[in-house]
Amino acid sequence: MTILILAEHDNAILKPATLNTVTAAAKIGGDIHVLVAGKGAQGVAEAASKIVGVSKVLLVDDAAYEHALAEPLAAFLVEIGRNYSHILAPATSVGKNVLPRVAALLDVAAVSDITGVVSEDIFERPIYAGNAIATVQSRDGVKVVTVRTTAFEAAGPGGSAPVETVSATGNPGLSSFVSAELSKSERPELTSARIVISGGRGMQSGDNFHLLEAIADKLGAAVGASRAAVDAGFVPNDYQVGQTGKIVAPELYIAVGISGAIQHLAGMKDSKVIVAINKDEEAAIFQVADYGLVTDLFKALPELAEAL
């Protein structure tokens, strides 16, 4: 049994999500190969080769894979993927875009967003915004699986896998990359931060997010948001935490001016410690909060920044 993992990277840096996926693969068992598909991604392949538990790194370096477009990437994965028992990717926007395409081309089911490995073909995954956990079994020849990174520890360093270069399979020419508008931040990435502080509609404006940022900077935290805050244009879309945004499970999650809709809870309720600051003592967010502070956020946030 050999598992192929699609590495998450930006051609320069191997993203931590790959490390959690390696741990999920280790739970399944068997050899673990990591595929780095990109352009000028040699450094990424070298980083992947140092992950403990990885026995081989495949590097395919070609302009077709530079932006992780689903069409060329899936075509490539299908070519090499047939020889594997499992194809895994983290459940990121790349993994979610590419793996179902691979599964359909292989005529197999895809298993999305697993949070547990029961055996080589039995997995746990959340459904209904995390309000139920389904245990599913796949009997297909190749299991195509995306992994919820917050449910698995990051694999550590200590590996020394060989890097093998493989040739590209070409670009079907269905799609082309035009541009990207990426949020730049000095703060940690939302999905791997140790502390996350998120604001909701209660923040009232994008400017007021500075109140959260001041605290985030003191704590080394990432800043997130509810859908309402993103829809209102306070912050960009990549801040959204929830069922249809990012899934986070930091050591500490601080929800400010967020009511606690199930779609938001779906993205953060596995955090170790949850703090809620909300002026409405009936807000649903208090049902999942370890520490609740019923007060006006515009009073509490400056005080909190001061106290830290």
């Binding site: 689903a70 899936a74 990121t92 926007s93 979610k96 875009n97 590419v98 179902p100 395409r101 599964a103 359909a104 081309l105 005529d107 197999v108 895809a110 298993v111 999305s112 959340p126 459904i127 209904y128 915004a129 995390g130 309000n131 139920a132 956990i133 389904a134 245990t135 599913v136 796949s138 009997r139 079907p172 020419g173 799609s175 990359f177 035009v178 541009s179 949020s183 502390i195 993103v230 829809d231 960009p236 990549d238 990012k246 050591e251 199930i262 779609q263 309720k269 410690v273 703090v275 208090f286 909060a289 370890d290 520490y291 609740g292 502070l293 509490a300 005080e303 909190l304 106290a307 830290l308």
Partner: protein
Amino acid sequence: MKILVPVKRVIDYNVKILLKADGTGVETANVKMSMNPFDEIAVEEAVRLKEAGKATEIVAVSVGPSGCQETLRTALAMGADRAILVQTDTETQPLAVAKILKALVDKEGPTLVILGKQAIDDDCNQTGQMLAALLGWGQGTFASDVALGDGSVTVIREIDGGLETVELKLPAIVTADLRLNEPRYASLPNIMKAKKKPLETVTPAALGVDVAPRLTTLKVVEPAKRKAGVKVPDVATLVDKLKNEARVI
């Protein structure tokens, strides 16, 4: 130009779900059902393209039991021109739905298929990508903007790091994210009119598709519950608790 819009009937997003006592799944009897919210956004986008003169016909499709007719009527009331119900009582998983949709695309010849990016019941986020694969088309998933060009469509996608713009050759697949548009409510006259719009029923077998599930659900259970926390009186107490009790800062 024809647009195909698949819509799924799901438990309404405001309903607190109940698990069946035998652990086989989620109770759907006597529960309020609605169109998957992402699919409403997909229908809205198609209707706007038609209103802008860029599309000529919108065909809504649903796969599932007879109750899906209601969901299709909603799509018709929002502005779809006709509907197809692929009727089956078997649990249809994304691969099976994608195969059914492929068969319909082969028959109908749309230039664009707009789907919701995920269904809020199984949270799979697969069908659009699978359909694109089976058709050999490009896919613009998690779309927050769709601009039709000549022989191509430009899609702005919501990705983990921000936004990405891709251009796809037509025909193509688009899957709708939350911020693509705000779906309209159907007006009463349009709901009345929708009752007279054509709704055709076919079966998966008639389309030559085997819908047998590939994944077996062994059990469905409740997630681990968080234990109730405490309310703190002020910021000072909060900071103290986080430092000395939870030890997270």
